[in-house]
Symmetry: C2
Amino acid sequence: MPIADACAAWAAALAPDRVSRDANVVAKYGRSTLVEAPQPLAVLRPTCRDEVVAAVKIASQHAVPLYPISRGRNWGLGAACPPTAGQAVLDLSLMNKIVEVNEELAYAVIEPGVTQGQLAEYLDDNEIDLMLDCTGAGRDVSIVGNCLERGDTFGVYADRFLHCSALEVVLPNGDVITTGLGHLDAAATNLYKWGVGPSLDGLFSQSNFGVVTRLTLELMPEPETMSVYFFGVEDEQLEDLIEALRPLRLSGVIHTALHLANDYKALAAMEFYPWDETNGQTPLPESVRRRMRARYPFIQGWIGNSAFYGTHDQVQAQQRELKRALRGITRVQFVTPRKLEWGLRALRVLARTRLPVVDRLGTLVERARTMLTLMAGIPSNNTLLGTQWRLRREPHEESLDPLDNGIGMYWFAPICPLTGEHVRRLQRLIEEISAEYQFEPMLNLTLLTGRAALLTNVVLYDRDDASERERAARCNNALVERGIAAGYPPFRCSIDSFRHLGANDSPYWRFVRQLKRAADPEGVIAPGRYSPWVFHDAS
Amino acid sequence: MPIADACAAWAAALAPDRVSRDANVVAKYGRSTLVEAPQPLAVLRPTCRDEVVAAVKIASQHAVPLYPISRGRNWGLGAACPPTAGQAVLDLSLMNKIVEVNEELAYAVIEPGVTQGQLAEYLDDNEIDLMLDCTGAGRDVSIVGNCLERGDTFGVYADRFLHCSALEVVLPNGDVITTGLGHLDAAATNLYKWGVGPSLDGLFSQSNFGVVTRLTLELMPEPETMSVYFFGVEDEQLEDLIEALRPLRLSGVIHTALHLANDYKALAAMEFYPWDETNGQTPLPESVRRRMRARYPFIQGWIGNSAFYGTHDQVQAQQRELKRALRGITRVQFVTPRKLEWGLRALRVLARTRLPVVDRLGTLVERARTMLTLMAGIPSNNTLLGTQWRLRREPHEESLDPLDNGIGMYWFAPICPLTGEHVRRLQRLIEEISAEYQFEPMLNLTLLTGRAALLTNVVLYDRDDASERERAARCNNALVERGIAAGYPPFRCSIDSFRHLGANDSPYWRFVRQLKRAADPEGVIAPGRYSPWVFHDAS
């Protein structure tokens, strides 16, 4: 059997305890928040690049493809599961070295196993005046994995793929290259993305052209000061809000990827789904939604937040501009680290009174503390709490990992022009499809740039309920299919949706397929990943 | 003869008058600022994408490769000339449509023939509140060509390649694709670069994987206000200056690609080489250099300039930060459009007096006017005046195009870490090599990002002087070869230097070569372009 022979060879090349076909081990990697996911054949855990090279060569000899994962937390899009059956997971989490941090030039060289929490802690422990621009996926996710998936962060860098470079890649034939200027051993290898000649980074993102074993990540210099801000609008104000924000995002006054959550999304971060109050009915009835919202006065149709960084003067100027732009739409609240200190002190003093202001201040202080921490580059697993919305059983005692909690989740992240009209049209589409399948539209609007927004939706469902499972899968399918048909394709894609990314005979994918065949004639690396043709051919 | 048959077929597919083997026509395209350049076999001038498709298919049938150019102004790096003999130039300059300008979302869709001057004029004529981020190459150069060469601009966008997207590409097999989200016909096609799945833009930059016939360029929203600034330092202060500027560029206080010119470069913009004063001796003797500098008090070892854009408050805050950072190093002068008006008025009043202040004010006003115009998105051909430094004959009466003036020029644009130490080391290397070959080091330091700088050098030489020609070619070769050996490869490369970009057996180029072969098995598009292996194979 090829897999048995391959595993024997891998065990000899790595170490017996880092190659496994054990059903329990494999099943752990085969967990998914999706309804169904192809199960891996085996799991390999290399500890260094040379072991990856050996693993790739053996995979080629035995015709058992490898599916590389960094930490396997690609929740809602497939987690650690390959898009097709018959692949062995290449788990890179043991390769978790922070190879270098350069404070002067503000970057870190890291391996795929390095997590957000690990890097943030490293910077803190070593008193390095640099900060990580975080995603909302918590402390235990891979940074490299997110870079290669072209994920988005909360802060100034926003676009992770853009802020990484010098990818060290093990190619399907076992060759090792470094992209950008790396192959020329340039002094600026870690400082300039494109290199000279054709630039290859794009080819190694959202793809299967090689195994990335190291890259350089830009870090933000710690600003002189920062200020987080909050505001809310009712849903009918959304277009006006977007039209007011776009010029600021375009001109750079808003210099981060500002996030806006709709009320469902905000409620999910505060409470579980009210199964009792609704008698088990889904989606959330309007009356219950209103009652829940009344419990959290700060939750409106949409609540937005982000931060300004810079010198005192700059932040002041930015605050004034934002206030001015939103005048007549809503009021913005700003909190600096210093103001938070005052709030905490005031809260301690007032805590003994029963003044109603205490509650409101308490909520604001808590929100401000969470945001200030996150926007200062300290990721938190609390951002994962919202995934438990539809959970009916007891949550895991220690872990907020959706996989440990058996959470059903599909993440759909369509990209759309940053105009009120487009965002509204896409919102209506997602709401309509969600209602058809009895899910709440859990929306997050991200001002990725001044031109393009993400309007991400999460379908949260009960994996133990057969009817919910079936509806969730169909809902996700409808979202991706109808989203693309309406002009709003996802900017990242779940492993069961690649076929929607294009027809088999499109010149575009024909070209990509030619390149893939040239780079990986035997299909050794992650067959099917972002490769629609594989699924058309199979059907 | 393949070329005769190909030309006949091209003439039938395009129009007889847009295909030429006429010696005069071909020679015009074969002009170069380099000492030698391979001459094209013929010239084709398609007017639309479909003609490009036809031209590519015919090229394939007759095995005559095509070398696509946009306007052919790649001065100092090869202009319109292919890197190897036997290619026909595919001149896209007749494809010069501004397809769309979207004011709301701040972009333009343009064809390869669109020049900087044309787009700037279009925006002005149509009173569109958007501006072009210009390069210093003047009005008649292609924007698309510069995007694909990954050129750098003066302003906030700095990196042209990053700010273009949705490349429409005619592939070597005649297929047409649009990169990014274009192949999915997404609403955000012109608004988001990476697309979904492997991102291909990088593959079509500095390369030969297809013919780009259209792309989307981001334009800057007109700022509320702007302010240009100037400063100078002596050469021994360069390290201190860089160390002071880096934190500002990293944090975004300096949000443009600030430029610094050394004194030679600044002098070349003011005067011709003083052949009389030096009795024809080169390089410029130190005594003459000092005398010339005395004529321009604003010229120091290095003079820097750039601009701030934003609201009044923001620009004020940025100005304060820059002043503060350079305190103890130098004084910065700021000029807003309003201040320029005052200056012009004062100049008119004072002009009749003979006060010495008039001259100094006059120079400042002129510099300010030039910079304000350029930084407001209006390119000027005056930036090309400096190329005439070593010219001995009369300049062309109307054209500043270096080719029309028979100028000899090699442009070397190495990339280096933005630290005083690295910039100094690279400067010394360039100075040393320049002196060896009797040229002045004409340096321009560009703060491309907060991490990486370009230290570009121009070798200007007399094409009519056999000894100068020989020295210039050897000087360029030494710069590229020793630059790369020292860790400072160029970020763009001249057609006669591709062989320096890597060994034939390097895994990196082996991989690129595999991809190229898959995309273009017959080598129809621009063989040799950024393909070191072609030159190793030939030798």
